[in-house]
């Protein structure tokens, strides 16, 4: 395997793996905070059970998130030393702040998970507040480093020499705001829909208990609240790309020729050789409308870029469509759920709806992973847009293919172990008297 390709594959594998656990690590604290808060305010024990039952799987998932995050911090240097040598002074600051946020998160998570016998209920609830905040801030800071790669700022290059470094300007780079909002909210949507699916599945298997009903409503409420915000921030992102990273937008939309009144292409397989999209469905003028709020706006196409500076639309367009499609699937699930709740107040009796919630449950995470792939593949061949190409940032070390193989095995073993532990264990959604939870070991 070519070294740069191996480095990209390993970084992609590690990030794709970490994103799953990081997402749960951002979303779950919010759910815990809400459930503990309601329990404390209303004295309703069901909400407390809901939160406490997540503790064991949360401990597992957070642990995997922490170690896979450590791997990433190392891989920045092991795989991309030349990129980091250049970028460290600019993107170091968000990582530095993320370090603190993650530290805070780890502290309060440990207090929350292990502290049941040593802290009051109020103190346990209070622990979930810094936990939720620091988890969200971790995401925001890490996304800042990524958005800097899309819209590098806070420095000037004079004949290859770095001058005028401003870490603050680098952190608040143009793409930061929309990426941070879109990315963090996505974690809430993904976690909430994932949890809703687990509760729906438990209802299908064991019938609806008051506990499951409340848990499902809570999960759907959080998920549904984040959906419109996802739509708005997604639209903001598209409009931003049209102006600042038109190549990425063009790749996402499989848009080859620069034109006014550009159509939106849904689905289809773009062919970079011919510049055609096979089997796609075209909606006239919609792309221009979405990008510039003007049906006759001029949208730049991929063909405007030299061939070696074009992202491959085959790697971007399908993931983009899958992301948008996932959104509509979740929106449909939410609409059906609330419509039924509002009309007859008995969601549990409709097995089709429950199955649909189960079906929709992984799509939050799928959309999140796809969004990440769109932003990464859409930036190619650049590692820092317009400044440094991916190959120039990579390690001169050979044998990265071997390192890739090693980590592939590590991740397969970790995932296998995790699945085995979680699936064999009592699922957290099962109703059981509190006593059975036991305090052994």
């Amino acid at each position: 395997m070519d070294n740069v390709l191996a480095a990209r594959a390993l970084m992609g594998l590690s990030l794709g793996f970490h994103i799953i656990y990081a997402t749960i690590g951002i979303g779950l604290p919010l759910m815990l905070m809400i459930a503990e808060g309601i329990a404390l305010r209303t004295g309703n024990e069901l909400y407390r059970q809901m939160a406490r039952r997540w503790i064991r799987p949360a401990g597992l998932l957070f642990a995997i998130g922490a170690v896979s995050g450590t791997v990433l911090s190392f891989e920045l240097g092991l795989l991309w030393p030349r990129f980091m040598e250049f970028s460290g002074p600019m993107i170091g600051m968000p990582f530095w702040m993320e370090g603190y946020a993650f530290f805070t998160e780890a502290i309060f998570l440990a207090l929350y998970i292990y502290g049941e016998q040593r802290l009051s209920r109020r103190a346990l609830f209070l622990c979930t507040i810094p936990l939720t905040l620091s988890a969200a801030l971790s995401a925001v800071f890490v996304i800042s480093a990524n958005s800097w790669m899309n819209t590098p700022a806070g420095f000037t290059l004079e004949g290859g020499i770095l001058t005028g470094v401003s870490p603050l300007a680098a952190m608040l780079n143009p793409a930061f705001a929309h990426q941070a909002v879109h990315g963090t909210l996505a974690a809430y949507a993904a976690t909430a829909f994932g949890m809703a699916g687990i509760y729906a599945l438990a209802m299908l298997r064991r019938g609806a208990t008051p506990y499951l009903k409340r848990a499902l409503v809570l999960a759907m409420a959080v998920g549904t609240c984040s959906l419109p915000l996802m739509l708005v921030s997604g639209d903001w992102a598209a409009a931003f790309l049209a102006r600042n990273q038109p190549a990425k937008l063009a790749a996402a939309e499989a848009h080859f020729e620069t034109m006014a009144g550009a159509p939106l292409i849904v689905g289809g397989w773009p062919d970079p050789e011919t510049g055609e999209v096979n089997f796609g469905f075209k909606v006239p003028k919609l792309l221009s409308l979405l990008a510039f709020k003007d049906p006759d706006g001029v949208v730049k196409g991929l063909n405007d870029y030299p061939p070696d500076e074009r992202p491959d639309p085959r790697l971007v367009h399908p993931f983009f469509d899958l992301m948008v499609g996932s959104f509509f699937l979740m929106a449909l699930a939410a609409a059906w759920f609330w419509w039924r709740t509002w009309r007859r107040k008995d969601v549990a009796a409709n097995r089709r709806l429950l199955w649909f919630l189960v079906l929709a449950s992984p799509f939050g995470l799928i959309a999140l992973e796809c969004g990440w792939l769109v932003t990464e593949f859409g930036r190619q061949p650049w590692i820092i847009q317009g400044v440094m190409k991916v190959g120039a940032g990579a390690t001169p070390n050979e044998s990265i293919g071997l390192v890739f193989a090693v980590f592939l095995v590590v991740y397969i073993l970790l995932t296998g172990g995790l699945m085995k532990m979680l699936l064999q264990a009592e699922p957290p959604a099962v109703d059981s008297p509190a006593g059975r939870e036991g305090r052994h070991g």
Partner: protein
């Protein structure tokens, strides 16, 4: 006048010391799980396992702290070190992964009434693999094998292995094995405490022997480093480390456990400070100085602007964490007040 870059190097050393004294004890827990012996073998394992529980994740954030400081403040050193030390760092990473996962799996398995021997084994093996590899990587920066030309690394994939770094890796292991039992003496009582006390005293001797051995090894294998051991600042650190270790041993002998715990941490801190004092003013011995590796000044200023905010948030939070889980290692049990 201390320069900003020196201060930043100090912050890096502080991170390394924190990782060694907290994360190290954590690895040591894994080492002594493997080496558990005698009639209270099972109790030893249980108490170590419980003690690690609430704090392992926080203990390991210090490693991320070190990595982030390195790439933000000393990006050139980060690039050079992570290129030259690819192999030991990958080994350490694999160990960190398996260890973290094995611990979490085991904890989860216990709660659900399962104990998986394979998972326990991988926890133990990776608890030794990681400090060994990290110890070798850290000593390799002073071993003189890694050379730079025009900012690019000239080092073969196996240059990090030398007698000097092998002893360094063993010192890494010994530091971990030294801290864990001594920290455990304040959290256990009776015969179990005596077990940990004896283990701590033996590990102290091993650590003492290995660090002493490193001096003649350095004279033969890393002469540049050895030459700097005679500098006054290095000698002061060595003297402090030696007296710290001796006092700790006496405190353990006299069963002054709380003071011994602090003494053990200080001994490790002075040992690392001695290493850093010999390395100074370089980050990669004879090849890359702290000043040459440093980021532009605005980045350093940003680093020190954020630092106090982090301390304000973290210091009380960490205190609250360690205070909550003081006393009996079992987090499910209420903290008992140990009179020591």
């Amino acid at each position: 006048m201390v320069s900003l870059t020196d201060l930043a190097a100090g912050a890096l050393l502080l991170g390394l010391i924190m990782y060694a004294t907290f994360g190290g004890a954590d690895f040591g827990g894994g080492i002594w799980t493997t080496l558990a012996s005698g009639p209270r073998k099972q109790e030893q394992r249980e108490s170590l396992f419980h003690a690690i529980g609430p704090v392992w994740e926080t203990n390991h954030v210090w490693l991320i702290y070190v990595v982030v400081v390195l790439f933000m403040v000393f990006p050139k050193a980060f690039a050079a070190l992570f290129t030259a030390l690819l192999t030991p760092l990958v080994i350490a990473l694999v160990g960190i992964n398996f260890r973290g996962a094995a611990f979490a799996f085991r904890h989860f398995g216990r709660q659900t009434g399962r104990d998986v021997p394979l998972i326990a084994r991988s926890f133990e093996i990776s608890s030794m693999l990681t400090p060994l590899a990290l110890g070798m990587a850290v000593t390799a920066i002073a071993g003189g094998e890694i050379r730079l030309a025009a900012g690019r690394v000239l080092a073969g994939p196996w240059d990090w292995i030398s007698p000097f770094t092998i002893v360094g890796g063993m010192i890494g292991l010994a530091i971990c094995a030294y801290l864990a039992p001594i920290y455990m003496t304040v959290r256990t009582r009776g015969e179990l405490r005596e077990d940990f006390r004896r283990r701590g005293m033996v590990a102290a001797l091993v650590l003492g022997v290995l660090t002493t051995l490193e001096i003649p090894v350095a004279l033969l294998d890393a002469p540049e480093f050895a030459a700097r051991l005679g500098l006054p600042r290095t000698l002061i650190c060595i003297a402090l480390a030696v007296s710290g270790g001796t006092v700790t041993e006496v405190l353990l002998w006299r069963r002054r456990f709380l003071a011994a715990q602090i003494g053990a941490g200080a001994t490790v801190a002075f040992t690392l400070a001695g290493f850093a004092a010999a390395l100074y003013p370089d980050l990669l011995l004879g090849q890359l100085s702290i000043v040459a590796a440093a980021a532009p000044r605005p980045t350093l200023v940003a680093f020190f602007t954020v630092l106090p905010f982090g301390v304000i948030i973290l210091a009380p939070s960490l205190f609250y964490l360690y205070w909550t889980f003081r006393g009996s290692p079992d987090p499910e049990a209420p903290p008992e007040d140990f009179r020591v």
